[in-house]
């Protein structure tokens, strides 16, 4: 009988009531008395020199309150890159200033160079059209290889050859890897593109700024995955104001997928405008602005090589990747293609030697940063594609080659050649589970049935691993992080025994309000309904780093458990006094403090009441009140892993791919709420199928974004995807956090793209197209059809 409450229960989400009745409160839903509206003037060219911006006509338009340009923000600080990467030669990465508004040059289509604030949003937009910008268009730098060939055309004038860094991981392994390749009996080579994606959270970015001239306090309501990180970046780096003078509130946020981690110039611009006008200023992006200015994801061009024995044993792996960072460095842009990608290139395999080279390149395109999975999907796609290609070349079964090379369940802790220590796992178990659930044994029969209908059926696999729970701080510090990556929680027991739990994590769809309450309820033996989870407001929550990298439960959840443990420890002291017993004799179970071996007990509620009405209380040795905070910095990353299978049917006449089934067997460690975990995997797989079959961000040679709306950018829709089969029964709990959790938010998006592409290639090869070894994503009908004609 499954539990219906506490840890492990498939509890329905408490958040749903407000969302299902139209009572959610997103940034765009919030209005402040007297607010004005901002609209931004954005570059129509990819690359240009700003000669002059004439705002006089715009300033005289009806309702216009102020017009500001890049010049007005030139003295402000730049929006920093959060991660310092050193090149192979030891030199630090090139880090251009990222201003609030473009100044001197515009560097991508959509680069904002002016802001208008007016009484209504229509007036603000009308006035933007009246700004006269004298911009000399320069040749656009779009292609990464061309960007690196220093033609003198530079995105940033001070950065030659448009190279941000040339990173080697691990540089000391390079020679040994080359030697292994020189001696290897077989080398498989693959060149591939990891297609550029637009995150497209359904809620566009929005900001509402307020300023109180009487107190000099700013408040920013904004679409953020990490309100404290936003506050830190805006206050300390960009605006130069004390952190305590800025409150950042991220209310209900309609999805993030990475794109709302980052600080964007619009946020500082509306804060500055609110101060200048002494009125609240609101900006809500339309979808076109989102396409043009949100941080995009992926965009790698990779050459990968795998050296193996003739029997398929992996000997060495090396990659050369060009990673597009766009026109400016977004906050995690430099971490994503390096430490979230290169360190994962061992995958779940025993490959003894690995070397990764990544060159990050500036181009006249929107900034590129972490998008669901962030570096790990790129790593997984490269690895899982070349494993399939090697298997085809060597004539080895795709499951067998994986089984042969997977790290064994008895090999943990396992130190990889790319600097990580996997604490636990059982990759063969998830692989076996996947084989069972996907009915791999019945595939040939199904393929014959497809063939009878003139269709080509294929099956593709991926065995993947990721590093989540991003932290520990000391390790990421060594690796170049400029921030700590701990998290924090405060547990406030109210006098009447109910709880407010303030967390540094932020929920923008993940269901923290439900799951975190389940965890606390279980620990304290009280009902979930007595527990409120508070997040998203820097004036209420402790300094935590927010939610991304599947870190919420593993890091912020661990901090919450630590704080709850402190509550229990203090409760025992209070109970010992009230029950006239020794503290060591007090046990706490099912919400009761009890003198061991007796029936003398106090309920959790009685202890809470006593802490706030301390009439019978050890005041001389113990403070009144029952509120505890904890910070938690993990000892290691967590390593979720899994095995995926995708079955497709290709129409040989049109090249159209239909996904017939998708199976995901994952190891997330302990599962707090299976309903929510399943939902996370569904969503990730949906996005992964989108990347594999549909989505592509296309700039033309002039740097114009051709896929700039939902008319042109193919988002997965309900009829593009099947029901997914999801399993998480093969669990190896994380060994180093108190809940044994690993994180599940990104898994689906990481493991699924190679499974889909492997399935398509398999279908084509089975159909006689044995010359096809790879098709770049998105595997669209035209690409498949063209590959079949070759």
């Amino acid at each position: 009988m499954p539990k219906d409450t506490g840890i492990g229960a498939p509890m329905k989400r408490r958040e749903d009531i407000r969302f299902l009745t139209g009572k959610g409160r997103y940034t765009a839903d919030i209005n402040l008395r007297g607010q004005a509206y901002a609209a931004f003037a954005r570059s129509e060219v990819a690359h240009g020199k700003i000669n002059a911006i004439d705002t006089r006509a715009a300033s005289e338009m009806p309702g216009v309150l102020c017009v500001m340009t890049g010049e007005d923000f030139a003295a402000m600080g730049g929006n920093p890159a959060g991660w310092l990467i050193n090149s192979r030669d030891g030199t630090p990465m090139r880090e251009p200033k990222r201003p609030v508004l473009a100044h001197g040059k515009v560097r991508h289509v959509g680069d904002a160079y002016a802001v208008v604030v007016a009484e209504t949003v229509e007036q603000a937009r009308d006035a933007v059209a009246a700004i006269e910008a004298d911009i000399t268009e320069l040749p656009a730098i779009v292609d990464m290889k061309a960007a690196l060939a220093d033609s003198g055309n530079r995105v940033h004038d001070e950065i030659p050859d448009n190279l941000c860094f040339d990173w080697g991981w691990i540089e000391d392994n390079r020679a040994a890897v080359e030697e292994a390749f020189a001696k290897a009996p077989h080398v498989t080579t693959l060149e591939l593109v990891n297609n550029r994606l637009v995150p497209n959270a359904m809620e566009p970015r929005a900001s509402l700024a307020d300023y109180n001239p009487g107190t000099e306090d700013y408040t920013l309501y904004t679409t953020s995955q990490n309100p404290h990180l936003h506050r830190l970046l805006i206050a300390a780096f960009v605006m130069g104001i004390p952190e305590h003078k800025l409150t950042v509130i991220a209310p209900d946020v309609g999805g993030g997928f990475g794109s709302k981690i980052y600080h964007y110039g619009e946020e500082a611009a509306v804060l500055a405008a609110a101060k200048a006008l002494k009125r609240p200023v609101k900006w809500v992006a339309d979808r076109t602005e989102s396409f043009l200015s949100d941080a995009h994801g992926r965009d790698h061009v990779t050459k990968i090589q795998l050296a193996c024995e003739k029997d398929g044993t992996f000997l060495a792996l090396r990659t050369e990747t060009l990673a597009n960072v766009g026109a400016y460095l977004s906050n995690f842009a430099t971490a994503t293609p390096t430490f979230l990608h290169g360190t994962l290139m061992a995958g779940p395999y025993k490959t003894p030697l690995v070397y990764v080279n990544v060159k990050a390149v500036f181009t006249n395109t929107a900034p590129v940063d972490a998008y669901r999975g962030a570096g790990r999907p790129e790593a997984t796609f490269s690895i899982e594609r070349i494993v399939d290609k090697a298997a085809d070349e060597l004539g080895i079964d795709k499951l067998e080659i994986r089984r042969k090379n997977l790290i064994g369940a008895d090999q943990y802790p396992y130190t990889t050649p790319v600097g990580l220590v996997y604490d636990t796992g059982n990759y063969a178990a998830t692989l076996d589970k996947m084989v069972e659930l996907a009915d791999v044994a019945g595939f040939e029969k199904r393929a014959a049935e497809s063939k009878a209908r003139g269709k080509l059926r294929g099956i593709g696999y991926s065995t993947w691993i990721e590093a989540c729970g991003i932290a520990p701080s000391n390790l990421v510090g060594v690796l170049g992080s400029r921030v700590g990556l701990f998290d924090a929680a405060t547990v406030r027991v109210n006098a009447t025994g109910n709880l407010s739990v303030m967390t540094g994590a932020h929920s923008h769809g993940q269901g923290h309000e439900t799951v975190f309450a389940q965890v606390v309820a279980e620990k304290l033996g009280i009902p979930e309904s007595s527990i409120e989870i508070v997040h998203g407001d820097t004036s209420k929550i402790p300094f935590g780093m927010g939610s991304y990298g599947s870190r919420s439960l593993a890091v912020a959840g661990s901090a919450m458990v630590k704080a709850v443990d402190k509550i229990i420890a203090k409760g025992k002291k209070i109970a010992a006094h009230m029950l006239e017993a020794a503290e060591d004799d007090i046990t706490f179970e099912n919400g009761k403090f009890q003198v061991a071996g007796t029936d003398k007990a106090k309920t959790f509620g009685e202890i809470a009441f006593s802490a706030y009405v301390p009439h019978n209380y050890p005041l001389e040795t113990l403070e009144p009140g029952l509120e505890e905070s904890a910070f938690y910095d993990p000892g290691n990353f967590t390593y979720p892993a899994g095995a995926y299978a995708c079955e497709v049917e290709v129409d040989p006449d049109t090249g159209r791919v239909e996904i017939l089934s998708f199976t995901a067997a994952d190891d997330f460690g302990n599962v707090m709420n299976p309903l929510i975990v399943q939902g996370q995997v569904h969503g990730g797989v949906g996005q992964g199928i989108g990347q594999a079959l549909l989505e592509n961000t296309t700039y033309d040679e002039n740097g114009q974004l051709l896929s700039g709306s939902f008319m042109d950018y193919a988002m997965p829709r309900a009829d593009d995807v099947p029901f997914y089969t999801v399993d998480h029964s093969c669990n190896t709990p994380c060994t180093h956090n108190p809940l044994g959790v690993k994180g599940c938010g990104e898994a689906g998006a990481i493991g699924s793209p190679p499974a889909v592409v492997n399935a398509v290639v398999d279908a084509l090869r089975r159909g006689g197209h044995t010359g096809i070894s790879h098709i770049d994503m998105p595997v669209s009908p035209s690409r498949v059809w063209q590959a079949m004609q070759a």
Binding site: G22, M202, R287
Partner: protein
């Protein structure tokens, strides 16, 4: 500015609007019904779906003035009279058919109209019927499941 009058969630309402004011804007800014969300500018995402005279309409595709005199229903009008969730809303919660909640009002409105037209749709019909509503969180699995559950069909065979 022109005065417009319509019935929204059973109440007669009026407001002054510009000719270019969209129904979505009138509902959100004029009436404060912020459950209707705006997720795009090309009438592709469906987050703003409402009912106009019983039919699902993307409220960003019609001017407020064009629906003068019409019966409009929004997500705020979908719960039962006693405030409890309707069968469809309850199915969305039961099946975890929503995550960030932003597409949810449009999904519920589109699903309600779909079920009114076709009370026992097949899986393929549900997928086709919701093709005009984008969700980035759920991979659609649990949304489709919720609509099938709300139609009274047995969903126990659908995988987790």
């Amino acid at each position: 500015m022109t005065k417009v009058t319509m019935t929204v969630n059973g109440k007669t309402v009026s407001g002054e609007v510009e000719g270019r004011t969209l129904l979505s804007g009138f509902l959100r800014e004029g009436l404060g019904l912020t459950g209707t969300h705006i997720g795009c500018d090309t009438s592709q995402c469906g987050a703003c779906t409402v009912h106009v005279n019983g039919r699902a309409v993307k409220s960003c595709t019609v001017f407020a003035l064009d629906v003068a005199g019409a019966e409009v229903k929004t997500i705020e009008g979908m719960a039962n009279a006693d405030g409890s969730l309707s069968v469809l809303q309850q199915a969305f919660q039961d099946c975890h058919g929503l995550q960030c909640g932003f597409c949810t009002p449009g999904m519920v409105m589109a699903s309600a109209a779909l079920l009114a037209d076709n009370p026992t749709p097949s899986e393929a019909e549900v997928r086709h019927g919701l093709e005009g509503n984008l969700c980035r969180c759920t991979g659609y699995h649990n949304i489709v499941k919720a609509v099938l559950q709300a139609s009274g069909q047995d969903i126990t065979a659908i995988p987790a």
